[in-house]
């Protein structure tokens, strides 16, 4: 593509230290770090083609309406407009979806949520495209919306998708229930009769947004062979391609995707956003088309975290042994399926938390409504449950007059424990230990906002360390400290029998006299540091210093999604396996070449790759890697799979459903201005078992980032949706995420207890800290205020009792 610029390039990294080899276990720096600090790194919104047009999307202003007519004639007459498309102009398949193809590429006859795409425009300036979109006349007739469980399942409720025939439709009680997963184990009724204490409560979790900073964007370029090249910020190139090809009416091999720079993801890029629209406009106009959402559109352009209503009941003996647990979790999936069924599976199977409970009844379900579609977000169904079961633990501890950490430790699962699904946890599960570690940490000093008296006549007050901050609302009056704890369990990798695999191609060859490795995968680097880890693995396995990372694209096999905390495990595992295969091939070459040379070649002795050499187990060099290779390149592409899982039984929920579990615990320390209802989180300490930290710096970065997103859900983040389905706050002015002033110190304690089933013993890291952070913060606020606080995010009016809360 001669006229295109700011396309992804290869990135080469050399380890330069003498002691540091840049292998696994070291905190090597990001290979793309230099490009990112100079501003040269090419993000998807930076893509450029000399000849490109700009695309724009017209979206529905209503959550539920009939489309009576669409008139594009005025839009088409605007100078500079090259194409306008509606549902009627689609060339092939009209619907797409991750699991169920229920989402129209452009709405036909009916819109089901506020912000649904209705028409698309390509023009030679983005403002021209926007003005043209505004000139499209759509005649809507509003329909009554479905917005919660009652309105979705009552008699005569409008059906979101009449005539469903997807694989969940057969086992749900109502067509507006997308999927339902029960879990039944033991005998709850009998256990209840034995219980000394019973605690039952309702909880609610608001709709959270991923709020990545790099907006949805990409560039579609029509190719000479009739296909299309798409440069795109996504989480899973191959699944985008598999959804796009039928919509474009092209064979998969003519839809070529290359990952462009991704500004964060957190689940929001698992579903298609502008991919199909840009490709369709490119094919219609024969010109490259770029689409970039602004922040307002981004709030409508991707799925969100499911809001949830949860009911929990726990029964225990007087000394705090959990006898049974019951829960019902209702997730609002919104208008289209997205990944809701898998979110239901997670909510159900992880719904009781990291505790040993023999008698369990769980019911989790997702609704179809006219609210915004919900799907993947970091924590994926486990976040909502963790908020509720951890609040229950605190409520139970209070009822028992017991220390909340001790109650948790008394019931904590450990290696060998059996989950409510019947699955045995067959790797370390240090739940009691991570709780102990956060609890034993020294407390931040009391009245931490006061500077020492020595600095002046009296004690100084730094308002930045107080609730209200620079608004200067208190100097310590009415401020009460609270401390809270929480722990959570998250699965790693794709579950329930999904064939989860990743692919890596690795090559070694001599460049400039030095053996170098090239790593090519389709893994989406979204900021998590996968590219850093791939270079480390190649160094450790192949003993090289210089590693080149090829841009991720569909010219190599699928890597699966950058989600479910799975990429280091899966694509890391694939890179490791490819390196092992390359190593074998190199050794075969060496044996052929040096048969009469060093005896180690013929003895079948173990040979290792180190510092550009092949060495014996004792460290004696037998050949330079470059001398074995000479002008030959040794390459292999391999597929790596984790051990198989199986679906949960649809009635009992039993099954070996998950491949690995990940555990994190938090202690939150907060100061609350109880008069104004303002909260300052002072410290949010985390302890997490990561199995093996391949890159400690990046591991801690993941934990701190996940912790902060959990803090956001606890006290500020919520997409507000009116009962008529309209989104009220689609902007960073009104949807707040934590700033550096809202975020406390986050000390992290990393445990490394190897999981023998995983490459290097590692455990997926990214999601677990997002779970326990939220309930720990809310527990601390409860501790300071004595309020029940059954809903997140907690708002000032919940603390002062001055508002209705839920909708403010």
């Amino acid at each position: 593509m001669a006229d295109a610029t700011r396309l992804p390039t290869t990135i080469t990294q050399v380890s330069q230290g003498t002691a540091a080899k840049g292998g696994i276990g070291e905190s090597t720096l990001r290979p793309d770090g230099t490009l990112k600090v100079t501003g040269e790194f090419a993000y998807a919104s930076d893509l450029w083609h000399e000849d490109m047009l700009w695309g724009c999307t017209l979206r529905s202003p209503y959550a539920h309406a009939e489309i009576r007519s669409v008139d594009v004639s005025e839009a088409l007459r605007i100078p500079g407009v090259r194409s306008v498309m509606t549902h009627d102009d689609l060339p092939a398949a009209t619907h797409y979806g991750l699991e169920i193809q229920d989402q129209p590429v452009l709405a036909k006859d009916r819109v089901r949520y506020h912000g649904e795409a209705v028409a698309i425009v390509a023009a030679d300036h983005p403002e021209t495209a926007r003005r043209a979109a505004a000139k499209i006349r759509v005649d809507y007739a509003e329909l009554p919306p479905v917005y919660d469980e009652e309105s979705a399942t009552r008699e005569g409720a409008p059906l979101l998708h009449p005539g469903r025939d997807d694989h969940h439709s057969g086992h749900v009680a109502h067509p507006n229930i997308l999927h339902r997963q029960p879990i039944v184990r033991g005998d709850v009724a009998a256990a209840k009769a034995e219980a000394d204490v019973v605690v039952r409560n309702d909880y609610e979790v608001g709709m959270q947004d991923q709020a990545f900073l790099g907006p949805e964007s990409g560039l579609a370029v029509p190719a000479e062979d009739g296909g299309v090249d798409l440069y795109i910020a996504t989480q899973w190139l191959h699944v985008d391609r598999d959804q796009l090809a039928p919509v474009l009416g092209l064979p998969a091999e003519k839809v070529r995707l290359t990952l462009s720079g991704v500004g964060g993801a957190f689940g929001a890029r698992e579903d298609l956003s502008m991919q199909a629209h840009a490709c369709l406009l490119a094919m219609a106009t024969g010109r490259p088309v770029k689409i970039v959402y602004n922040r307002y559109e981004s709030f409508f352009g991707h799925v969100h975290r499911h809001p949830a209503k949860l009911t929990y009941e726990h029964g225990a003996t007087r000394d705090g042994k959990l006898l049974y647990a019951k829960c019902r979790i209702v997730l609002d999936g919104g208008a289209y399926a997205s990944s809701s069924p898998a979110v239901v599976g997670n909510a159900a199977s992880l719904g009781i938390g990291p505790y040993e409970v023999d008698n369990v009844e769980v019911e989790a379900l997702a609704l179809y409504t006219n609210n915004p579609p919900c799907g993947a977000m970091r924590g994926f169904g486990a976040v909502q449950a963790c908020f509720a079961y951890e609040a229950q633990m605190d409520a139970l501890a209070e009822a028992l007059d017991m220390d909340p950490v001790e109650l948790r430790q008394r019931n904590a699962m450990s290696q060998g424990s059996v989950l409510p699904t019947g699955q045995e946890v067959d790797a370390p599960a240090p739940v009691a230990e991570i709780l102990r570690r956060v609890k034993e940490r020294p407390m931040p000093p009391q009245r931490q906002w006061e500077s020492s008296p020595s600095e002046g006549a009296g004690t100084g007050v730094d308002v930045r360390a107080l609730p209200g901050g620079l608004s200067n609302t208190t100097h310590g009056e009415g401020v009460v400290r609270g401390v809270g704890y929480a722990v959570g369990i998250k699965n790693v990798g794709f579950s329930e029998g999904f064939d989860d695999y990743s692919t890596a191609r690795v090559r070694v060859e001599v460049v400039g006299g030095e053996a170098v490795a090239l790593v090519h995968t389709a893994m989406a680097e979204v900021g998590q540091g996968g590219v850093t880890v791939h270079a480390q693995i190649a160094r450790t396995e192949l003993g090289v210093s210089r590693v080149t990372i090829h841009p991720a694209d569909t010219q190599v096999g699928s890597a699966g999604s950058t989600s479910a905390s799975r990429q280091t495990y899966m694509t890391g595992g694939a890179v490791k396996k490819a390196c092992e295969s390359v190593r074998e091939k190199v050794l075969r070459l060496g044996r052929e070449k040096f048969a009469g040379g060093h005896p180690a070649w013929t003895e079948g002795a173990e040979l290792r790759f180190e510092d550009g050499k092949i060495v014996t187990a004792g460290g004696e060099a037998v050949a330079a890697l470059a001398d074995v290779l000479e002008d030959e390149a040794v390459e292999d592409e391999v597929v790596f799979r984790h051990r198989p899982t199986e679906p949960f039984d649809l009635e009992t929920g039993q099954g070996f459903g998950h491949v690995q579990y990940s555990f994190a615990a938090h202690r939150a320390v907060v100061e609350v201005d109880v008069e104004l209802g303002l909260v300052k989180v002072v410290e949010l300490a985390c302890a997490q078992d990561v199995g093996k930290a391949l890159n400690p710096l990046a591991t801690v970065g993941q934990i701190q980032g996940g912790t902060t997103q959990g803090l956001g859900l606890a006290v500020m983040e919520e997409i507000l949706v009116d009962p008529d389905g309209k989104v009220r706050n689609p902007s960073f002015t009104d949807y707040l995420i934590p700033t550096i002033l809202d975020t406390p110190a986050i000390p992290v304690d990393v445990l490394e207890l190897a999981d023998e089933h995983a490459p290097y013993g590692l455990r997926g890291v990214g999601e677990a800290p997002t779970l326990s952070s939220t309930p720990a913060v809310v527990a601390a606020i409860r501790n300071a205020t004595g309020l029940a606080l059954r809903r997140v995010p907690v708002r000032p009016e919940h603390l002062t009792g001055t508002g209705t809360g839920a909708d403010a």
Binding site: R6, T9, T10, I11, T12, Q13, V14, S15, Q16, G22, E26, S27, T28, L29, R30, P31, D32, G33, T34, L35, K36, V37, T38, G39, E40, A42, Y43, S45, D46, F212, L213, G214, G261, G263, G264, F266, N294, R295, Y296, R464, L470, L518, G527, G529, T548, H550, G701, G705, G706, T707, T708, S731, F732, T733, T739, I740, L741, T743, A745, I746
Partner: protein, 190 residues
């Protein structure tokens, strides 16, 4: 309309600019300087932060016409700006020429997706220019207009502390250490 102003020490001119175009749009789409980022275009995230006649501003909130005849520094110009102040650029194959703040962000692990990074770098650079040894509270206050969704800010604080410490060091005195020495380069397509 035509707009002419100085970016990173060089005179730039843009023709056919619409009245509504922001400085951010003109930098990114008309002047070939996409380093300043477009995370919100609502003045809320700071990813588009640039210096306008020395002051940090959100480029998305400044109309291009307002910049006529003025001086802009973007992330692409931070290394030159540091050199003009007499700071020692980083040495080494990969990060040659990085300003102390840029280098510190790489070394401290303050970059994940990096979309917030250009704006944070410009803001942090201005902070250290005015306050050679900022306290943590000063850093938090100065960077409170810059959102980061990935890091939880801890490594960003580390980076600014590190940059301040290194900038305060006379040239030649061994810089405070952070992390291993690894170098990077961008190669051609394979």
């Amino acid at each position: 309309m035509r707009v002419t102003f100085t970016v990173n020490g060089r005179r730039h001119e843009a023709d056919d600019v619409w009245e509504g175009e922001s400085l951010l749009y003109v930098l990114r789409e008309r002047m070939g300087l996409p380093g300043s980022k477009n995370a919100c275009e609502q003045g809320e995230c700071g990813s588009c932060t640039v210096r306008l006649d020395g002051e940090s501003v959100c480029a998305c909130l400044v109309a291009a016409g307002q910049v006529e005849g003025r001086e802009v520094v973007t992330v692409e110009g931070l290394a030159d700006l540091a050199r003009q102040r007499g700071e020692t650029p980083a040495e080494g194959a990969a990060d040659a020429g990085l300003s102390p703040v840029q280098k510190a962000f790489v070394d401290a692990g303050a970059v994940q997706c990096g979309f917030c990074t250009p704006g944070l770098l410009v803001a942090a650079d201005e902070l250290i220019e005015h306050n050679a040894s900022p306290s943590d509270a000063d850093i938090r206050e100065a960077l409170s207009g810059n959102l980061c969704r990935c890091t939880g800010y801890e490594t960003i604080l580390d980076a600014v502390r590190l940059a301040a410490a290194r900038t305060g060091q006379p040239a030649g005195a061994g810089a405070p250490d952070a992390g291993p020495d690894a170098g990077t380069s961008q190669g051609g397509a394979i």
